[in-house]
Symmetry: C2
Subunit: 259 residues, 2 copies
């Protein structure tokens, strides 16, 4: 398939484009790369490796799921601290001045021109490619299902988080509910709906922009990152979650036929 934005410097990366499965895996926080034009944003090397810069483990987990589900995968090539592709350009979190307990000095003062430049460099190529991917599959009658993949830090503002697998929805809770049922019946994971965040925290921009307008089943999956800290752990988690996602798909297909 032709990319919608072949000229983009920071074009998203598309894998398994000819996938036969319904699922489109989306990984907005796959990379902690900060392109040279933004220097180091005033961060230490440790900070640039930390969860504030990306979602550790999310991409490796996504690739494991991609292979098991025969899913297409799209992931962003730039750190969320430059532009968080799961945020609209006017949201504070799109180019955050602070993330958890960390200041982001390079984002303290962002002029309208700089906000526009980052939107054009990172967000528009991302949105155009993801929209093109979805619309092409809608045109072909492939009934896409949108699954975004994230990880969260086990300790946030000094507090431990008990949830292991968060399943977040926007307006349509059906697929998220089916996934939680499957996770609770098939795994030992502590699986909770709308934890550790919910749509009220502005985390469902991708779902709102790309799934809801087409009426596509969708959910945002959040794994606690200590459970996917190594490549082997990511593979094991993909092995655990692939049947959960397949069960969720079967349930929404059953509901669609019954309605």
């Amino acid at each position: 398939m032709r990319s919608s934005a072949p000229e983009a410097e920071f074009a998203p990366i598309l894998e398994n484009a000819a996938a036969k499965g319904r699922v489109i895996l989306v990984c907005e926080h796959a990379s902690n790369a900060i392109p040279a034009r933004w220097g180091d944003l005033g961060l230490t090397a440790d900070q640039r490796q930390a969860h504030i810069a990306w979602d550790p483990g999310a991409l490796a987990l996504a690739k494991g799921l991609m292979r098991r589900l025969d899913a297409v995968l799209i992931h962003a090539p730039v750190s969320r601290l430059v532009y968080d592709c799961n945020r609209a350009p006017d949201m504070a979190g799109a180019m955050p001045a602070r993330s958890e307990v960390h200041d982001i000095p390079g984002n303290f003062v962002i002029s309208p021109a700089e906000r526009l430049a980052r939107t054009e460099a990172v967000y528009l190529p991302w949105a155009s490619a993801l929209h093109g991917l979805i619309a092409r599959r809608v045109a072909l009658g492939l009934a896409p299902v949108i699954v975004t993949l994230h990880s969260f830090t086990p300790v946030y503002f000094g507090k431990s988080r008990a949830v292991e697998f968060g399943i977040i929805h926007d307006n349509d809770p059906c697929f998220a509910a089916a996934l939680q049922d499957a996770a609770l019946s098939q795994t030992d994971l502590r699986a909770e709906i709308n934890q550790p965040y919910s749509a009220a925290d502005d985390v469902t921009h991708t779902l709102r922009l790309h799934a809801t307008p087409y009426g596509l089943p969708n959910a945002m999956l959040e794994l606690r990152n200590d459970l996917i800290a190594t490549d082997a752990a990511c593979e094991a988690m993909a092995e655990t979650l692939a049947p959960v996602i397949n069960m969720g798909l079967e349930e929404i297909q059953r509901q669609a036929k019954a309605s």
Copy 2:
């Protein structure tokens, strides 16, 4: 501003791109042009001039409003019978086999490959350019308001339509309600909400895809096409509606401040 899809053969047309006003005018059915590769779709010359191929008067009205509101305007260069940019690729109306009492022979059998080809040729460049226009203005803090402009036939399936000015909304009715109040107080037009169509008829795809995800005020305006049948009538209608839209904008600004 750089186009998101400079390579597109049927790229949408952008006018007054540096406009200072909040309103983005959108005209999906501006043109009745059928590019050569689709022949005449099996239609007579009269049919290709009729309301089934486009919204007569909508573009001239949009240009009149563009000048009076200092609004940016985007319009599609291809007939809705090739691809209706106000429809998702899986909707029957995207490439209709029948429109009102007219068969569209060239759309009787559309293979998945042809559906994909039209989506790529017309819909994706349109959606990418409109999204880019909106996201850039959101990034710049220009608080865009989306107004789509349409016209409808005075006689439909043999029945006369009394409504003159239809104001259609999707999930958020606020701007539509403000516009109806303004129209009823400032004009003699018979102005009705969700007439002659409503969101249930799949006519709000543009609003759902481009306005709702960003929380932007939005409405779809429908003028009965006998009221905008000449250039002079379009200019007169623009002169009538520009203050209506400005009053509607003032009202939603007042509501935003009060909340």
